[in-house]
């Protein structure tokens, strides 16, 4: 410890949410100055809650917070920012219609023309110092998620953040972007910035952190030096028991075609062509992955398949029948289901658990226009049980569930309907280790039972682990298709960046 004050010291933190959920119980949490500190734990362990308390967004029910040796009581995030604490959420706090620079000015809360140049100069200086490349004049909504995240970090540095909190920063990034983020974080550490890093990916935690605090059910179970523990040990600490990682993909013979997409053309929200003549076939007993950097037409493609988005040209055939432009609810009813990559799309956060359980299957719970709530509740509690959704009551608004538990509900709802084909976009987004393994083995099990999965994922580990075939998408076109063993990670990276390599069948 070297005698110097810790950057963060939280003592005896207890948090009871207004509805009676005890999210944290007597938690002590210490972060040394200048370290990268990992915060690990299962879904619902209380990681986000602890950090929101540190950031002044919510108040602890009990406990004390010390920043650089000074007792603090933040009245809100603005107060925390003033004292050098900055939290980057998954949902970034940037105004999409503004340029990066305008966002920075907004945050600097200074007015007048002279300041504009000051802000620009300061931003450019920071960018130079740490080698951060963010186009200041580009509008935020036109930037990829990875660059938006960098802009957010730039914003933090502009406000002279000394403690940076990152809540699951890598779950939305492609492997290349993850590597860049890791490099950026190392540089920030060299500059003396203290970083708190929440993740479910043990490999990342192992790679970047100096020390790790593990939470379980609202309590600290262990604080360790990262070099002293293995990934397996970390997993065991989180869950409290040995967990086995044995996802084995049995060889399977693909069966009859279930879903065929023929020369599909689709426009995005701005009216530009986002999918340009995509064709593929998905067979029973097969997992096909669509691999690509986010924003290359994946979302438009799957939305058009299930009928959410108009098809410009082309055809979608499911189980031998054309379902082109069919209403989504009818598509789902026929057994083609879709797990979207955003929980804010797949769930209505202000609805409760039961309401959400019937969102995509409302017709099944109707008797002449009337909703059969008792059946809905039965279905809902089945999903909650089967998929281990941590929630107190089916009447809890989904907004109050932890990120991972929302994801469990979303995936559970779609899988529980016993579909023939599942389109899964980032299905393990935000899930903890155990839940991730559970969902992945479930997808494999469904495939072995004769179903088919169309996987859209930026997580290459997941893609290699699950796929029978993969298709690389770039700017709305399929660049290559093949079996996982046909590609090396490097080749895949090039293809995803639009570089065609030769002779890939």
């Amino acid at each position: 410890m070297g005698g110097s004050q810790p950057a963060v010291e939280m003592r005896g933190i207890t948090k009871v949410y207004p509805d009676g959920v005890v999210a944290l119980r007597d938690v002590d949490f210490t972060v040394r100055k200048g370290e990268v500190h990992g915060l690990l734990g299962e879904n619902g362990a209380g990681k986000t809650t602890l950090m929101r308390i540190l950031y002044g967004e919510i108040e602890p029910s009990r406990g004390e917070i010390w920043i650089f040796g000074r007792r603090v009581k933040f009245r809100g995030p603005w107060d925390a920012i003033r004292q050098g604490v900055y939290m980057v959420y998954q949902q970034f706090s940037l105004v999409p219609a503004f340029t990066v620079l305008e966002n920075l000015i907004l945050a600097s809360s200074s007015m007048g023309r002279a300041k504009l140049q000051d802000v620009r100069r300061k931003a450019e200086k920071i960018e130079r110092e740490i080698g951060l490349e963010v186009p200041l004049n580009a509008r935020v909504e036109e930037l990829s998620v990875g660059v938006q995240q960098k802009a957010e970090i730039l914003k933090a540095l502009m406000s002279e953040a000394k403690i940076l909190v990152l809540d699951e920063p890598t779950s939305v990034l492609t492997p290349i972007e993850v590597r860049e983020l890791m490099k950026l974080l190392s540089r920030l550490r060299e500059m003396g910035i203290t970083i708190i890093f929440i993740t479910h990916k043990l490999r990342e935690a192992k790679e970047i952190t100096d020390r790790i605090t593990v939470l379980r059910r609202g309590r600290v179970v262990k604080v360790v030096e990262t070099r002293d523990v293995s990934q397996e040990e970390l997993a065991k600490m989180m869950v409290g028991r040995e967990i086995t990682f044995d996802i084995t993909k049995k060889a399977a013979k693909a069966g009859a075609p279930l879903l065929a997409v023929k020369d599909l053309w689709v426009r995005d929200d701005r009216g530009l062509m986002a999918v340009k003549g995509v064709s593929f076939e998905l067979r029973a007993r097969e997992i096909l992955s669509i691999v690509g950097v986010a924003g290359n037409g994946q979302r438009e493609l799957v939305e058009a398949i299930v009928g959410i988005r108009p098809v410009e040209k082309g055809e979608v055939v499911f189980s031998g029948e054309s379902i082109t432009q069919m209403p989504p609810s009818e598509v789902y009813r026929r057994g083609l289901v879709y797990i979207p990559d955003s929980r804010a799309v797949g769930l209505i956060l202000d609805f409760n658990v039961t309401d959400n359980s019937i969102l995509t299957r409302l017709k099944q719970f109707l008797s002449g226009g009337r909703i059969l709530w008792s059946e809905a509740r039965r279905y809902s509690s089945r999903i909650v049980k089967e998929f281990n959704v941590l929630v107190d009551s089916l009447r809890t608004p989904v907004r109050h569930l932890s990120g991972g538990n929302q994801q469990r509900l979303l995936v559970g709802r779609e899988v529980a309907s016993n579909p023939k084909v599942i389109i899964a976009a980032e299905p393990t987004h935000g899930l903890d280790v155990a839940a991730t393994e559970y969902i992945r083995s479930l997808l494999l099990k469904l495939r072995d039972e004769g179903k088919a999965v169309l996987l859209v994922s930026t997580d290459l580990d997941e893609v290699f682990q699950l796929s029978d075939r993969m298709a690389v998408i770039y700017e709305g076109q399929i660049m290559a298709t093949g079996r996982p063993e046909d590609f090396t990670a490097e080749e895949l990276g090039l293809l995803m960046g639009g570089v065609k390599c030769e002779a890939k069948s």
């Binding site: 005890v22 769930l347 009337r370």
Partner: protein
Amino acid sequence: MRSEKLASWRLIEYTTIAVEITGSIALGLVVAGSILALLGYDPARGIFLLVFGGLRNPDYLLSRAAFIAMTALAFSIPLLAGVFNIGGEGQMYLGGLAALLAAVYSGNAAVAILAGGLAGAALGLIIGALKAYRDVNEVVSAIMLNLTLFYVIVYAITAELYDPVAPHESIKVPKGARLGVIRFGGLKLHIIFPLMLALVAVAYYLLYHTKLGYEIRASGFSPKAARYAGIDPKKTSVYSMVIGGFFAGVGGALNVVGFTYYIDNLLTCMYGMGFTGIGVALMGRNNPIGVALASIFFSMLVLGGSRMQMLMRVPKEVADTLSGVIIVALSLPYAYRMLISYIRIRRMVGVGAEQHS
């Protein structure tokens, strides 16, 4: 995996709500009383009249509540779908006129009320469809319609539909098409009040137990998620406006067929009730049951206010201010709630930590 829950919070929850409501009314009364005292009136008598003055004529109070509850639903149902229906006022006027005409031609109250509802619904459809498919701001089109309809109906009453015997009134609803009163001994009650309760129950059922209600709420909370689920948020918002307009139209119809039996040439019997409905909808937290309660409470204050004006010579502005103070106080519970949950959590932590650690 379950984080333990501290016991009996539901009980505490209900107690909290009770405390909230009592607390806010008490606070509102104290402030209103202080204002009266400052202005040199007897606060105790003023408050008494404000709160209970309306009870002298419970039948009138509840009848007013019936119209207001309808226009409040006209605001809150579209709001749940994410649309601002400021047009309740105009929808109510047109509903009233349609009901009058239908009553005259059919001689049947049910037909008249239905006609009123349909007229309001048609207006709602126009505003909703313009908003959904032509991107016309619903507030602007509604305000213009409100104004236009006011004059159209004033014209219709003065120039065409006036009663030759009493020219500032319209022709009367024929006897056979009037909704009357129920009598219990010496007390009487216009039928429109129980009818309003039934309609509120229908609205509740519609919103929370039917496909359409689910779709309305889903579209309002998250159009993106609704679209994913196969719900068309635009179409749903139009439906919500049609339903909202229907309720406003019924409100006008209840007024004409069930209470005044004519429309006066300045629409005084209806004027402003559409706008009042907006406040009542918000006070009732957009929930039909809340709306029913709020409409009664609101009528109580309005009538109490005029009683106070009359007996104590308090200016109308002061009376309205006092009602306003109480209404604001009633919307404070969110603040109380935070305070209460703060105290509650303190206490629970004190107990909980010892029990569980």
